[in-house]
Symmetry: C2
Subunit: 405 residues, 2 copies
């Protein structure tokens, strides 16, 4: 298997990009879907921002280093990866906060409708952000399983809120069909692209999507807790109103007037002062992923996960897969169900193979194509086979839960 | 004057701390109240976080480097500066977003009352964040001038929202008296400490304050757009509910359950994933300011601004001061009104003296005591006198407005 992996690596047009990341030599990293790896250029860029722009330029850098344009500039670099126009995306706040803004905006745009429809098992923060609006009496959460979503789109639904690629199973929703179904029912659509953006092609405008959010620290390699992004289709720019009406979303923030007046366009989705250090790191990751190109990344991620599944079969290791077996129907990850998933994950980490565990029983392995080699996948299989051969999960040290799982 | 300044610097117990900051040699920085200077330790710390924790530790650093505890750890280091208990402060999001959380929480705690009382000319984002809740039908803004605030506290007021030190005039509100007046009227109080924290003593618990927010990038030197902080008095921890119900505010975020359940205590004020790079830089600034000590900082800032005013008088430069002439009644800044304030500010910047302009006619000079020398103040006076002697503001290049003023 390792020989075949080497052949694949030799033929891989993306192989050269691994060196653009600073990866530990003793690790096989199958968790780029949770926290993307560090681009080599990030540290130098942060040094420039910290020492040059902050330390040397001080307050002048809001103009001279275009800090004031950072949220829009980084958003504009994300836009082409998700089928958006440059002026339809802004990088700001967290995914959670951006969800709140857009759920609230959508509810106001559909007066008389209060329901936000989503699916059970969606990423927690997507579901949780509805709770705050529910408590405010402004929204009402309704959950429908994947199969019954279209049927659940009745006249009460203001917004359909779905994660494009499921964080646990890797299932891909049909963005075109579901957006159309929601619109047919008079509802708006908000797509969470956290597990899509940077991993597979997304075309929001071709699907007619209304809103989207996404994460900066997964496939965009923006660093832990990187700023997120928000998309709103141009047709909504001057009619949407989000409730986090901070000064960076004001039409003329430096007039220091007492009254809020939303900025024209996407800027009204901004709220507080832009987080410049976080945006600088995110920008480096976005530029690198953009340079490699989404189509090539997606093709390689499919090849990697297919290689993994074929390798498992060759080794006779029969794990219960979760999610689609066809790589066209899943994101850049594979998930397996096992009652000892937590301890298996810990046993793999002890061997330097870093995947992650998702409660209660899912072992999730991500194949971030920008820096993962086929030899890494082959090695991961070898370790997994050994963990199973030795039943290593039974060791007590692998059973103790960490704060973050 | 310069000789007297040198004597003061020689006798200044804080003089040695200037070297803990990385300041350009050709600049006199009178804008630490807008963006604090760069601590020398920040770059090394960020290098450690980026290369070691992110690059090397990858996802493991959520546990191993205690990223998961960063918001509380940094909050706990801010707490002693503002008279809070360690478990009453969390560092997260922006000041604006934290304002929204706490305004909304307060409105829910006072059912039947909708009014958020503030003052005209408060920092814009404080006033703007009420607008979103007003539009949602949940709050109603009322503004009363400083003199009439107590009289305006009627039975409709749910929350009194004030900035402790006024961003423009430097005026300090009487936190004890106004908190008591609000409580007597059945209202809660939310203090914005953006221009206080790190500059002068604040004792939230002695005043009986309910809530507070503050900025990380001014006197705490956390870097441009640094995470902000939020305080809630312990007595409210399990009764307050804020609407930004993200997964980092959940009682058990890594259970990945569908239903939101707020964390016990201050953690329910968190929302999305903690911004680790921003928090790391903020932590360095907070540690440094904490080491110097607020009482000493405040004493020096008073001495600096008094030295400035005495120097102006000596030079016969008669500027119209805005705000209190008594340094006990103002924050760490001085403001002056002049019809050409913008161009004067630009002329000073061209000379390397960086203050700022606040619309429409205010020249604001900050005296951040951690790194400013008396000789800097003396030099600033000399430049200001020369700008006036030459009427330099009349030059066209100083009249053109930048994007950020």
């Amino acid at each position: 298997m390792i020989d075949r992996a080497r052949e694949f690596d030799d033929a891989d047009p993306l192989a050269k990009y691994r060196d653009r990341f600073d990866l530990p030599t003793d690790v096989i990293y199958l968790d780029g879907n949770s926290l993307g790896a560090l681009p080599r250029a990030t540290l130098a860029r942060l040094e420039q921002v910290i020492r040059g722009e902050w330390g040397g330029g001080l307050i002048r850098s809001w103009n001279d280093a275009d800090w004031i344009g950072a949220a829009r500039r980084v958003g504009g670099k994300i836009a082409p990866m998700i089928g958006a126009q440059l002026h339809e995306v802004v990088a700001c706040d967290s995914t959670s906060v951006n969800l709140f803004k857009l759920i609230a905006a959508a509810l106001e745009m559909r007066p008389g409708r209060k329901v936000v429809l989503s699916e059970p098992g969606n990423f927690p923060t997507d579901l949780y952000m509805i709770a705050g609006l529910e408590r405010q009496g402004l929204g009402k959460r309704k959950l429908a399983s994947r199969e019954s979503i279209v049927g659940a789109l009745d006249n009460d639904v203001a917004l359909l809120l779905l994660t494009h690629v499921h964080y646990k199973s890797g299932d891909i929703h049909d963005m075109v069909a579901l957006t159309k179904a929601a619109h047919d029912a008079g509802a708006l659509v908000l797509w969470d692209l956290s597990h899509s953006c940077g991993a597979l092609p997304v075309d929001l405008n071709a699907a007619g999507a209304d809103f989207a959010v996404g994460c900066g620290y997964k496939y965009l390699n923006g660093g832990p807790g990187a700023p997120a992004f928000a998309f709103a289709a141009e047709r909504h720019h001057n009619t949407m109103h989000q409730p986090l009406t901070g000064w960076f979303g004001h039409n003329a923030p430096f007039d220091f007037s007492d009254d809020y007046e939303p900025a024209a366009g996407i800027d009204r989705l901004q709220c507080g002062t832009s987080p410049i250090l976080g945006l600088a790191a995110l920008e480096v990751g976005v530029e690198l992923i953009s340079e490699i190109g989404i189509d090539r990344l997606y093709a390689k991620s499919q090849a990697l996960s297919e290689f993994f599944l074929a390798g498992l079969a060759d080794c006779g290791l029969d794990l219960e897969g979760v999610g689609p077996s066809n790589s066209d129907e899943r994101g850049s990850q594979l998930s397996f169900r096992h009652p000892e998933a937590y301890a298996i994950c810990q046993a793999l980490i002890a061997r330097g193979v870093i995947g992650d565990f998702r409660d209660p029983d899912i072992l999730r392995l991500g194949f971030a194509p920008a820096y993962l080699r086929f030899v890494d996948v082959a090695e991961a299989i070898r370790h997994l086979v050994e963990v199973f051969a030795n039943e290593e999960w039974m060791r007590p040290e692998f059973q103790t839960r960490n704060a973050v799982t």
